[in-house]
């Protein structure tokens, strides 16, 4: 079992969700987060005064997947979230030791 975590541009969220859904992903956890990468935030100008805004709003998606599906899931996210411009985000995969479904007590693969 793996955890796929993606940080993407907020306006790409709907496309990513639709692509994951048509692949068969049935659930995910989504949060609004902020941060910065190589683009180092951005600059805003108010009455001629420039402000460096360090943090950029992002969407973080977390998906639990079986090991065999992980490459596909990550690929779908990358394809749907890509604009080719700086600040598109990242997708990473990490191992998961165990999972329990709260309602039934099902464990691991049965709980995904």
């Amino acid at each position: 079992m793996k955890l796929v975590t993606a940080v993407i541009k907020p306006h790409k969220w709907e496309e990513v969700r639709a692509a994951l859904e048509s692949f068969g992903v049935t659930g995910m956890t989504v949060s609004e987060v902020s941060g910065y990468g190589r683009q180092k935030g951005h600059t805003e100008v108010y009455r001629g005064a420039e402000y460096d805004i360090a943090l950029v709003p992002k969407i973080r998606i977390e998906i639990l997947a079986e090991a065999g599906d992980v490459e596909d899931v990550a690929g779908i996210v990358v394809k749907a979230a890509q604009t080719g411009r700086i600040g598109d985000g990242k997708v990473w995969v990490s191992p998961v030791d165990s999972v329990v479904r709260v309602r039934t007590g099902d464990r691991d693969e049965a709980a995904i």
């Binding site: 100008v45 108010y46 009455r47 001629g48 402000y51 805004i53």
Partner: protein, 443 residues
């Protein structure tokens, strides 16, 4: 008495009253989320304090018979607005109390305008005290200088209106230069905000700013066209000039932004609106509609450039009361000396219309007199309050947010599942404490 004139002036007075809540939105959106309530409360505080003082003695100081030199009206003549309820008490063609009401809302917004210079850091009580003292020793006398015409509300009026004969139709000097100079002085007295120029202090809600600017523009038709004190052609000229100058100023401001910063901004549009309104205020009876376009366009460009100066001088005039109201007010007042045309209701020719330098020096003297008087008196009042009861909040309170420390409120509930329906930790995100005895006492 003329019923049409009366109806228009009463309507205009209500329009001008709306400008102060409009200003509260305009200013409130420009500060950070942690101080929006205090920013708006400074305007509402001005409404409350000046509304009371105007009735008690403010009107009388401004519009009572002159007690000497055109400097001050007799505070006892109309004390408590005595004698003005009679249907014989008229100012020109309208009931005296309609005029009292119209002028009251001018006094209120002038005081409220100052608050933009001291955002995020003034204790509320001392602000109310300042508002009352400043109105008493600065606004009421200056309104007498500028707005009290001989034979209007009393036989002898103020020196700028009658002796100097400077043109200030609706308050470029009495309202905008006055408030702008006071804002400058008060920003100096209170000092910079914690973290000024280091921390980002960008506007927290630009739609509020734009709603505020819209309400100001709407109310300003009462301010300018209502100053005709009648439903007549003078009011119509003022109305159109108020439209023309404001539209042109918005374009002027956005043009500067586009060329200098790369983008035309919503804050720039809202600011351009106000800059144009400020500049046309003294001039709206003295210039043609084409002249008004020039006044507005010039003001939009000038004010957009002027708002950057505070960084050079190191003065935290937080919301640019100086850059917009002082600079716009000076420009609008002095430009009358250039662009006035005798075909407009004021009937005076400026330099560019062959009138020579006569009106130009009158305008300049009037503008500088109000600027100097307001600046010096505000320095004295502000310093006196600072040295005695204290004017500024503690630094740690400023960092925590003045809304919470001065008013025990916060403007927005940022907690997810807010408003008491929260489930985090099994408890609502807000709990309600009701003091049973207090509730019983209120019931």
């Amino acid at each position: 008495m003329d019923t049409g004139d009366t109806a228009w002036v009463l309507t205009s007075a209500a329009l001008v009253l709306l400008m102060t809540p409009g200003l509260a939105l305009f200013y409130g959106g420009m500060v950070r989320a942690k101080s929006v309530l205090n920013m708006m409360m400074m305007s509402f505080g001005a409404l409350a304090v000046i509304g009371v003082l105007w009735v008690v003695y403010g009107y009388s100081i401004a519009f009572g018979n002159d007690v000497g030199g055109g400097l001050l009206g007799d505070p006892s003549e109309f004390f408590g607005l005595q004698g003005l309820m009679s249907d014989k008490a008229l100012v020109f063609t309208i009931p005296a109390l309609a005029f009292v009401g119209f002028q009251a809302v001018f006094a209120i917004i002038t005081v409220a305008l100052i608050s933009g210079a001291i955002a995020d850091r003034a204790r509320f009580g001392p602000w109310l005290l300042f508002a009352g003292i400043w109105a008493t020793v600065v606004y009421f006398p200056v309104a007498h200088w500028v707005f009290s015409f001989d034979g209007g509300t009393a036989p002898v009026g103020g020196w700028i209106a009658n002796k100097l004969a400077a043109i200030d139709f609706a308050g470029g000097t009495a309202v905008h230069i006055n408030a702008g100079a006071a804002g400058l002085a008060l920003a100096i007295v209170l000092g910079k905000r914690v973290g000024w120029r280091r921390d980002p202090m960008r506007p927290h809600n630009l739609p509020l700013v734009m709603i505020g600017a819209g309400l100001l523009w709407f109310g300003w038709f009462g301010f300018n066209a209502g100053s005709a004190l009648g439903a007549n052609s003078v009011a119509a000229v003022a109305w159109i000039n108020t439209l023309a100058a404001t539209a042109a100023a918005t374009l002027g401001w956005l043009l500067v932004e586009k060329r200098r910063d790369g983008h035309p901004t919503s804050l720039g549009a809202a600011s351009g609106v106000v800059a144009g309104l400020v500049a046309i205020t003294p001039a709206c009876s003295a210039v043609s509609p084409m002249g008004a376009l020039l006044v507005g366009f010039g003001a939009g460009i000038l004010c957009a450039l002027a708002v950057g100066l505070k960084y050079r001088f190191g003065i935290d005039d937080s919301l640019d009361v100086v850059g917009v109201h002082l600079v716009g007010g000076l420009f609008g007042t002095i430009v009358i000396g250039l662009l006035a045309t005798s075909s407009a209701p004021a009937g005076v020719d400026g330099l560019l219309y062959g009138g020579g330098f006569d009106q130009l020096w009158r305008q300049t003297v009037g503008a500088l007199a109000v600027l100097l008087y307001s600046f010096v008196l505000t320095l004295i009042i502000g310093t006196a309050i600072s040295k005695t009861i204290g004017f500024r909040i503690q630094d740690e309170d400023e960092v925590a947010g003045i809304d919470f420390t001065e008013h025990s409120e916060t403007a927005y509930d940022f907690v997810a599942r807010a408003g008491g329906a929260g489930v985090l930790g099994g408890k609502p995100s807000a709990t309600v404490r009701v003091d049973a005895e207090a509730r019983g006492a209120n019931a």
